[in-house]
Symmetry: C2
């Protein structure tokens, strides 16, 4: 998933290699020893540290938070490796002229698949009813997954894996991507007119699109209205994919029955944000897919 900006020099320096590892404490503590050991095992003389002089940095490994905003201070750097699946904090940074690689490890993909299949199945079988109340004996059986239409927006590394897992669970899976794709077991749609087809009649919608100017507020009053009445939206992608006020209006009006949100326009989600108190919204703290 790399997006090369210029060609990578072929020779590794013969002197000690300086790898700047810029990440929050817990991530640093977990990964730094492993990266050092792996480089050493490859016979490379490298130091991996958080506090190297910028002018001496050869490689950057970073999480795209506030720690690094200006890449021009690393004149010698040959490659930047982002530990995040999301690209919105780096793609449009004009100071980033060196090659960029994005880490998408099996753990991130597996975590996302487990989060998405868990919440799709939760809404599919209607388990909240039983979690929230243990009285009564109302034997309403959910319909089977093969009769449940689930639409996954975004068929990249993460969305494609989720669509595959849902198809394996027998769901009637539709997928949408900007450019045409094909995937076994998934009815694929593409482009602006394909979005309408993908969402029409969808009962559960999972949004896993990248956050770009084109996907800003792709879930809005118009697209909510395309979905089946009482549809559920699950957003482990990016907060900016949803128009917040339109979501609340669709839930209040009954067009949507629930939203399970793992990502938000502001994170951490403020305690007084209306999503927090809404009875039809489940808030999870951006845990669907973590680097681990």
């Amino acid at each position: 998933m790399s997006a090369p900006r210029k060609s990578v020099p072929s020779k590794i320096p013969s002197r000690k290699i300086n790898v700047l590892f810029s990440a929050p404490g817990p991530v640093y503590d977990e990964f730094q020893p492993a990266i050092s050991a792996a480089l050493s095992a490859e016979g490379l003389d490298a130091q991996v540290a958080a506090d190297l002089p910028p002018a001496e940095v050869d490689y950057l490994v970073f999480t795209p938070n506030e720690l690094i905003t200006d890449f021009s201070v690393f004149p010698r750097a040959r490659l930047a490796l982002s530990l995040w699946a999301g690209v919105e904090r780096v793609l449009h940074n004009p100071t980033l002229t060196l090659p960029l690689a994005r880490m998408v490890d099996p753990g991130q993909r597996e975590g996302m698949v487990e989060f998405v299949t868990a919440h799709v199945l939760r809404h599919h079988i209607g388990m909240d009813r039983h979690i929230l109340s243990s009285s009564g004996w109302d034997q309403v059986a959910p319909k089977l997954a093969r009769h449940r239409r689930v639409t996954v927006l975004g068929l990249g590394e993460l969305g494609g894996a989720c669509a595959a897992a849902l198809a394996a669970l027998n769901f009637d899976v539709h997928g949408w991507s900007r450019r045409p794709r094909t995937q076994a077991g998934v009815t694929c749609h593409a482009g602006p007119e394909g979005l309408e087809q993908a969402l029409s009649g969808a009962e559960i919608v999972v949004s896993l699109l990248p956050n770009t100017p084109e996907t800003e507020a792709v879930l809005n009053a118009r697209t909510f209205a395309l979905m089946a009445p009482g549809a559920v939206v699950i957003n482990p992608g990016r907060g900016a994919l949803i128009e917040d006020a339109a979501l609340i209006a669709a839930l209040d009006g009954g067009q949507l029955s629930h939203a399970t949100l793992d990502t938000f326009r502001i994170e951490p989600l403020p305690e007084d944000h209306p999503f927090r108190a809404h009875p039809k919204i489940t808030v999870s703290p951006h845990v669907a897919s973590l680097v681990r």
Copy 2:
């Protein structure tokens, strides 16, 4: 899955065939027209009804509830087809001397797989925390499914399908059956000593054993103690597989962290049953797998 008691006569009577369909109203209303139409499409002159004179019944289609307890009143019957996956109400009935078939349709199997995978994933990712509270921003990521040990007790038609679905979701799946079995992706155990191995260290246990004298209260204080501390029990099998008082003690003592129960020793579960009010028990009204 038939258990023949005597050989089936080879000739179908040339007169009108009488099929007694004994089932609760909603099941009757759904299936009766379909069965009539299917027999007619096969060129058979049959009537399918709930109120035939017992002496004139040729075939029985029934749910093993209280409606039919004495099969000796049907001297002419050639076959009994049970619509339930469970066998406890019929296997030991001494009046049942005619051949017995048990219906296990794809819908029952799919419904069970969807219920079980939904609840295993629910406990795996810890979603109750977010369903029950929308405050805070505690980014505790669950471990990945490949590090989560799930044990399925019973590897028959339903248990085997659930074990396969859980293995496809990457869980570390162990299975137990009375007689030795093998299943791809599942570490299989068998027999009394195998039960101990299957449960040792299990973090989520799904019980899908048939209800027989050998499986009565197989989940008890001794077997709960084998599981990982804080284990979760999911019982869509039969209520009698669990020793009720031991379950409550294990939850109260912390050996188990939760139980999700779909079957009970008495159904419907009485409103004053201690399971109803227990904060660590989810009660669902026997909906995991319905004839549909």
